[in-house]
Assembly symmetry: D2
Homo-oligomer: 368 residues x 4
Amino acid sequence: MPDASPAKWHLGHTTWFFEQFVLAKESGYRPFHPQFEYIFNSYYETIGPRMPRAERGLLSRPSVDEVRTYRRHVDEALLSRWSRLPAETMALGIAHEEQHQELLLTDIKHALSRNPLRPAYRAPIAGAPRERSHRWLPFPGGLVEIGDAATGFSFDHERPRHRVFLEPFRLAEWLVSSGDFLAFMTDGGYERPELWLSDGWSAVERHNWSAPLYWESHDGTFFLFTLAGLRELDPAEPVCHVSYYEADAYARWAQARLPSEAEWEHAAARTRVDGNFVESGRLHPGGPSAALYGDCWQWTRSAYQPYPGFRPSPGAVGEYNGKFMCNQQVLRGGSCVSPARHLRASYRNFFPPATRWQFSGIRLARDA
Amino acid sequence: MPDASPAKWHLGHTTWFFEQFVLAKESGYRPFHPQFEYIFNSYYETIGPRMPRAERGLLSRPSVDEVRTYRRHVDEALLSRWSRLPAETMALGIAHEEQHQELLLTDIKHALSRNPLRPAYRAPIAGAPRERSHRWLPFPGGLVEIGDAATGFSFDHERPRHRVFLEPFRLAEWLVSSGDFLAFMTDGGYERPELWLSDGWSAVERHNWSAPLYWESHDGTFFLFTLAGLRELDPAEPVCHVSYYEADAYARWAQARLPSEAEWEHAAARTRVDGNFVESGRLHPGGPSAALYGDCWQWTRSAYQPYPGFRPSPGAVGEYNGKFMCNQQVLRGGSCVSPARHLRASYRNFFPPATRWQFSGIRLARDA
Amino acid sequence: MPDASPAKWHLGHTTWFFEQFVLAKESGYRPFHPQFEYIFNSYYETIGPRMPRAERGLLSRPSVDEVRTYRRHVDEALLSRWSRLPAETMALGIAHEEQHQELLLTDIKHALSRNPLRPAYRAPIAGAPRERSHRWLPFPGGLVEIGDAATGFSFDHERPRHRVFLEPFRLAEWLVSSGDFLAFMTDGGYERPELWLSDGWSAVERHNWSAPLYWESHDGTFFLFTLAGLRELDPAEPVCHVSYYEADAYARWAQARLPSEAEWEHAAARTRVDGNFVESGRLHPGGPSAALYGDCWQWTRSAYQPYPGFRPSPGAVGEYNGKFMCNQQVLRGGSCVSPARHLRASYRNFFPPATRWQFSGIRLARDA
Amino acid sequence: MPDASPAKWHLGHTTWFFEQFVLAKESGYRPFHPQFEYIFNSYYETIGPRMPRAERGLLSRPSVDEVRTYRRHVDEALLSRWSRLPAETMALGIAHEEQHQELLLTDIKHALSRNPLRPAYRAPIAGAPRERSHRWLPFPGGLVEIGDAATGFSFDHERPRHRVFLEPFRLAEWLVSSGDFLAFMTDGGYERPELWLSDGWSAVERHNWSAPLYWESHDGTFFLFTLAGLRELDPAEPVCHVSYYEADAYARWAQARLPSEAEWEHAAARTRVDGNFVESGRLHPGGPSAALYGDCWQWTRSAYQPYPGFRPSPGAVGEYNGKFMCNQQVLRGGSCVSPARHLRASYRNFFPPATRWQFSGIRLARDA
């Protein structure tokens, strides 16, 4: 799986981020190890060459203990300079680390799922019973504002706040459930090219997709691999681990569409009902029906593009977001493995449309 | 070259389009050959299986003469029913044929360029001398309308006409010239990852790009393969045959950006000064400076997405545009191999961002 | 199909071979066209760069007429110098051309087979009725000699004649028939990994092989594409168009093995009963039962390696055979598209083990 | 690196081999874990499905401790039945484990070499000074016998002992040194296609080979990665980690050739002078000059093929050798990471010709 990284790499990389973008500019700081820049740089071209992602799994050294020592070294160096550290870069480093906390669980889930022993990461935690909504929330549209309102930390690509014109639309209060998605499958969803984008249909054929990732059929019953191990599919819980192509095909089948990111943000800015975040410990979607945030990232119909007037942050940190603005789709809302405080209405996540290992689900929209 | 097709396939395919979408619904019409549907269907999944694109080059049969007979057969069948043919589908068939007239020349150029004999398709025709503009055209922005105004034929994806909000912007009156692009190259344009989108830099490395397609360096001088053969590069003429990635990197280097498709359309709807179209016979960009139309397709920063309220045409014809709305960028304006009457302000062309064999160039924009 | 070339390329290449290896050394000879060396060189590294094989299909120029003119030019230049031409190189050029006569038909068959129109190259010619042998011919083995006995032209890799020790063995008088092979298929031949070499089984899985090339099943009946078009399979005729892997798996299933090339040659040197060659016009295997020569090339268990004391011919012609002595298997005996005079007991053909588009069949052997 | 496996997998796999081929047939034995067969089966198709090799690196579970427990479980089960265990299968299991002891070090070397920290597996051990021979050992050839003489355990592919006819030949007493190979490189060895097999030249171009594996050039000096870390190249020590293609090209450049496996065995059966084996702890080639065994595996010109009369062992164990007899070359003699007692004159090793991560070197031969 070329997109995933070993756990100790995540730990080393988030540590390196502080070393590189904060400590390296401090006088008197000595880098922990000259090669760690090469090992733990993820994709910053302007910093220098880096270890190919696919080779991270070969890193038998540094050991976990050495990476922990590295972490302590950097933590102490930060603490000893605490009062004078640059606030914005520190906020970025923390936001970055929150993203890797989510990725860490996402990658662990994938690795465990490929293991023939099917190990559980954790014992299951029962979710609160969930009442299902079927309400379409109506919005009148018009000239609205989206983007960061500058009340706290935000990423460069959430800015500037700007006006967009929205036609009237309706947004589903609920996330599409596994049972909904099963109906799509039973109706031949994965065999009918007319439901799919052209690239989506190619992906279905190339990867032989016939169900979301982590679904398995045994003797006609569907099972699901979760961070609490393999268990029977619950049709009431939100469908998760679908690609943009599957979300889009499902929406077409359901005679609806995916929301644009502007529609989503406009709706989400008005209210904040939360589903499951990582703090609940469930590590699986399935929250209260009226939540826009949490449970599953929600694919939008919006390609990931710069906002009008977008300016990347200066320096190597400017590679964080802007250079990925092609061939990716925006997701909104956070998931059951996101830290709750990490999310906000203007928050933009993005992945290539064939991505399935993220906790990505579906919320529908319709023209009014 | 998997994207290109042999000339006789283009002829057969445009013929088949009329047979399939017009004549097949006519009582008394007998298809010319039962296998031609398989051979000449390009991508309509709902019609049935089709010949893989990469195998079109193997078609030693039907011969060119047989395809011409097929053409005559279909022409006669259409003429004999002329008065009662469906106007909209006929308009679509003609627009489709105009697109293939352009593709035919585009593909011929590519095939000839790979031939070690470097054959010319045609003798060169001198262009009118071209005075270079350096004016930035200012636009105040605001809430504007784009999309087809319903004055004649249009494709489904140009509709519905709708409102978008534009920030004030400036649009270059001129197309970026080969000399401009050479300055980018001389300044290390192809070696500086910070100028490129992440996917763009991968493409540079994977394909070893170091100049636009059809440029060749001999003893320090650049030459250009054109439909009139190989000749020295003229720094005054527009740069052509660049990918979206190259257009985007050039714009970043020039401290500008590419226009959005809404900006382009808003500007182009106000005026129509034409450059070279296929009728000029030049088959190479290089027209008057104030032309927004012709010479080169202009990459926009807009990903190819549905307009709000978009409805694909019903039936198999609905596969024409909508199913490609992912991983592609919009181009605007037409080129020196487009038929002049084919273009309009609302016309949307689209290709994957790594595409270079189209006559695609660069027009810059800036925030006001 | 990357291994096949267009007909006009074969004509140009065999012509170029005489121009390059004979005429280029003659004073007063002027090459026909400076680029033809690039276009028509197949794989001679020491001569210079050459057109990639996969691009030969793009050669819309030179036209067939131009290649014929080239041929006449070279023919005339050869005739005008006839008496003083180097005998050995001329013999090599003729042998080379005979090989391409065979390849030409082999490639035409492949191209026509991929055409949805299924055109026939030629009307069918009925074969003589064929009585089936089931005799195993016994050979006592011992220290024998193989390799060219120097009675006429031979390729460098047939030399030197040398001794090999053979254990007693038996050779099937007959070629394995399509009916025999069908029994293997019915017995699960393509689904039982224990019958296959490891690389062979990978090839089965990668290419989804379930029958020889050119076999098609329609409603439970097998049909065969031949140079006379598609027709029902005749179980009495030799199976053809199998890879080495299929030949080897069949032999294992039949509790036999393939002969070594030394065994084959030792047997073939004693007698010469001919099956069909190209002169019969049948262009399909199916001759008298006692023929070792003709009908189908016969895969041997011998990897293609140099004989002890092998010396490649000097100069670029030395690239003809020796540089391919790795990852290929030897075939013996010629086929229904080989010229009869081209074959001899010591003649070695060779192809990678996954090759199926050659007229390759199976003759069994057993330990005595 | 798809050919290599993690250390704990080697331990689990050799343990499984005894469980599968010895204990599974014992009454009263209960397999340790039902999924271990899936995880630790390497390539035995007749036993059932197995974990793809490329995914072995993802096995975060079972842990090293669990695999050690598995080992103890199997060791105890074997010990409790010691007197009645099948001698031949036990001998095979031990030979198999010796092969994996070698592979383990080979894989560790590769993994460490890709690690930017360049960790050493072990401190260096100085080798005995080595006097260089330049003697060609002459052999008269004739009808000789090779293959296992049945004096102890041997693999099925070493049998039966049989006669082959050898022309007179000479064998180099020395292994080609790094200094020798450097001379080949300096003479343009990696840039001259006429020195290479066709597939070899493709490999050079595809992989950009310009030196043996583990060689690195820094400021004009060559360094070598060894199991004792990175150090300067010693021109006197044998060149190691070359592919068959490089060995063959070197031999052609040196106006010599590689020995056949029959020649090597015939020479090696007469005498046994040993170089370094794993017991010396050096883990790097470089022994006394007259050694045919140890230091480096020696590529032979012989493709890996069955001996006349070869019979694979019955049952799943029969997949050990025979199914790989295609597209591989034979190596002889063992290396500095082989256990000394593992080798004998008739011992055949085999790898695909592009393999470089094995301790593979070059011994030359010449026609007499």
